[in-house]
């Protein structure tokens, strides 16, 4: 399902109209900013006397980023544009402050206030502290709360909600929970976008008892960023996305076409594909091989390592069930036998022939963005644009619906949640 944000709210605002924020009628939960990239600034005359300016800006930047990680919104700190062009202005003050009509009450009770689509004021008579300090009032938590107001959220009386009106001492590592995410997404829509590749990375670990266990993690990659997706909690890892070069050393920093983890009794190799080349990843040293144990130099041409497979490819996945890598290019699929090191006879074939649609016409066709074998779902997914198709399983789905031919496609909506971009300037926050 292609979710269009216009169905979520009656957006009658178009940023700031004529420099005035008194833009008329609204009700909590119904209206929001009509643009997705918002500028903010901590104004110079409104610095806190308690934290360094750098700390204040860093904490506020982190607060904006936390909302960015769960919504399609992006935030940029703007310290140069005319003030009227800044969407959200923040400042600290005491008593009568910053031309505000609402006087602060001194130390205790009110710690801040904010206006819908407007500005945020912090009461500098409160003892604001950096995150995880233990004492005082966490500036991060207050900032996240007030930004929620600016974005259109009211107070929410739900345990665990960041929008509760009263301040609760910050437990270590507070985050925006599921319901608060859905609240903001009700206003701005969910996060969507294309992916370069999606894969499960498998690794062996030893328990404290010496047992070898197999674990895996799911990764989504888009351009130069990636997210680790936590299947058990239906969200990405807190703080993602991360720049590719931070987590995967040596692969092209602007993105890859595909990643496959060939994992069987004889082989354990992770390959990244980009253009006409591919790299093998050295798990032990957390970087790409320059020379692998077999003596191959990297990067290596795809035509050398996978004869018969064209390049560049659209995407690929490794199917552990039949020991084949499925390479996709255009409307064709190439099935590569890793044991025989060659393309299987009869291939390439049309994707629509190898993976026919259950419902005629309901099919990605070709130019697949990502193909993903999920160990969580024990199924193959094909991604194209913001849509997902699931390949009918060999046992479970067909057991439920025996009439389904093997390898047919079903459409799956909203399977993975909150894989959201942040503004590039916030990547390092």
């Amino acid at each position: 399902k292609n979710t269009d944000t216009s169905e979520y709210s009656n957006k009658t605002f178009s940023g700031v109209l004529n420099g005035s924020r008194h833009v008329g009628k609204r009700a909590w939960g119904n209206m929001a900013f009509s643009k997705m990239v918002l500028k903010w600034r901590l104004i110079g005359e409104g610095y806190s006397s308690q934290l360094t300016i750098q700390d204040q800006r860093h904490i506020i930047s982190l607060a904006f980023r936390m909302w960015s990680e769960v919504s399609p919104l992006e935030f940029i700190e703007d310290t140069s544009s005319p003030l009227a062009d800044v969407d959200i202005k923040l400042g600290f003050g005491t008593g009568r402050h910053l031309g505000c009509n609402q006087k602060f009450d001194g130390t205790g009770r009110e710690f801040a206030h904010a206006w819908f689509l407007g500005d945020i004021h912090f009461d500098d008579d409160e003892h604001f502290t950096a995150p995880n300090t233990g004492s005082g009032i966490s500036l991060l938590k207050v900032a996240v709360h007030e930004i929620g107001h600016v974005l259109g959220l009211p107070h929410i009386y739900r345990t665990g909600s960041i929008m509760q009106p009263s301040y609760l001492p910050q437990e270590s590592g507070f985050e925006i929970n599921w319901m608060d995410r859905k609240s903001i997404q009700h206003l701005y829509g969910g996060c969507k976008g294309q992916y370069n590749t999606v894969f499960d990375w498998i690794r062996k670990e030893r328990t404290q008892y010496g047992e070898v266990v197999i674990r895996f993690n799911t990764y989504f990659m888009r351009d130069g960023w990636y997210w680790l997706y936590e299947n058990r909690t239906n969200r990405t890892r807190y703080g993602d996305p991360v720049a590719l070069q931070v987590g995967w050393h040596g692969i092209p920093p602007d993105g890859v076409d595909a990643c496959v983890h060939v994992w069987n009794r004889n082989t354990d190799a992770v390959y990244f594909f980009k253009g006409t080349q591919y790299w093998r990843y050295d798990d032990d040293n957390d970087q790409v091989f320059t020379v692998d144990p077999e003596g191959h130099l990297y990067p290596r041409l795809i035509s050398e390592g996978f004869p018969g497979v064209p390049s560049p490819i659209d995407t690929a996945f490794y199917d552990r069930r039949d020991y084949h890598i499925y390479f996709f290019k255009g409307t064709y699929v190439y099935v590569f036998d890793v044991t025989a090191t060659r393309v299987s006879p009869g291939f390439p074939r049309k994707i629509t022939a190898v993976f026919p649609a259950v419902v005629s016409g309901d099919h990605p066709g070709g130019s697949i963005d990502a193909a993903y074998f999920s160990y969580t779902h024990n199924a193959v997914f094909l991604f194209k644009d913001t849509l997902f198709w699931r390949v009918v399983g060999r046992s479970r789905d067909r057991w439920r619906r025996p009439a389904l031919p093997r390898n047919d496609l079903l459409k799956v909506e909203e399977q993975w949640f909150d894989i959201c971009n942040v503004h590039p300037s916030a990547l390092k926050v």
């Binding site: 009628k25 031309g99 009211p154 009106p165």
Partner: protein
């Protein structure tokens, strides 16, 4: 500066004139409930703009401090007397009392307290907790249709909280 002696500022001493007035009795409780929209919804957006021009950071505290008896190191200042006219008031208007009790019950409900309509210690403590200055109940100029699913998702009782 605010006076302190410890490295981590944990003993930061706040002059009483800089402290928020505590909620101690029904009068201050009524002010609290009124400020945050429990008695009557607040038009928060219209309160945003000040008539003054420019940006100032003036501090404005009521009354004058009693400076007699101040010695070095003495951080305690006499608190300005508040004008208390309660004893001179006539008997409270039954309607107003009902509004106060109703507002109190609303506050107790959303705060997870026992909904008694009584200004008890637990309610007093809850009112004195640090909180956001945005009212909990606001006016809405337009009569807008609110989807029940939205209200449910936001934890708001539509009938009670929105016009």
């Amino acid at each position: 500066e605010k006076l302190f002696h410890s490295r981590d500022h944990s003993d930061l001493q706040i002059p009483s004139s800089h402290q928020a007035e505590l909620i101690t009795d029904k009068d201050t409780a009524e002010l609290f409930l009124s400020r945050y929209g429990f008695i009557r919804p607040v038009n928060w957006e219209e309160l945003q703009f000040d008539q003054s021009t420019g940006i100032s950071n003036d501090e404005d505290f009521p009354g004058e401090e009693d400076l007699s008896g101040i010695q070095e190191g003495d951080s305690s200042l006499s608190r300005a007397e508040t004008d208390d006219d309660d004893d001179d008031e006539d008997s409270p208007n039954p309607t107003e009392s009902q509004a106060f009790i109703s507002a109190l019950r609303d506050f107790q409900m959303v705060s997870g307290l026992s909904v008694t309509g009584l200004f008890d210690d637990a309610t007093k403590a809850a009112m004195n907790k640090p909180r956001c200055g945005v009212p909990d109940k606001e006016t809405d100029d337009a009569t807008e249709e609110v989807h029940d699913s939205t209200s449910s998702a936001l934890g708001i009782n539509t009938a009670t909280w929105l016009t």
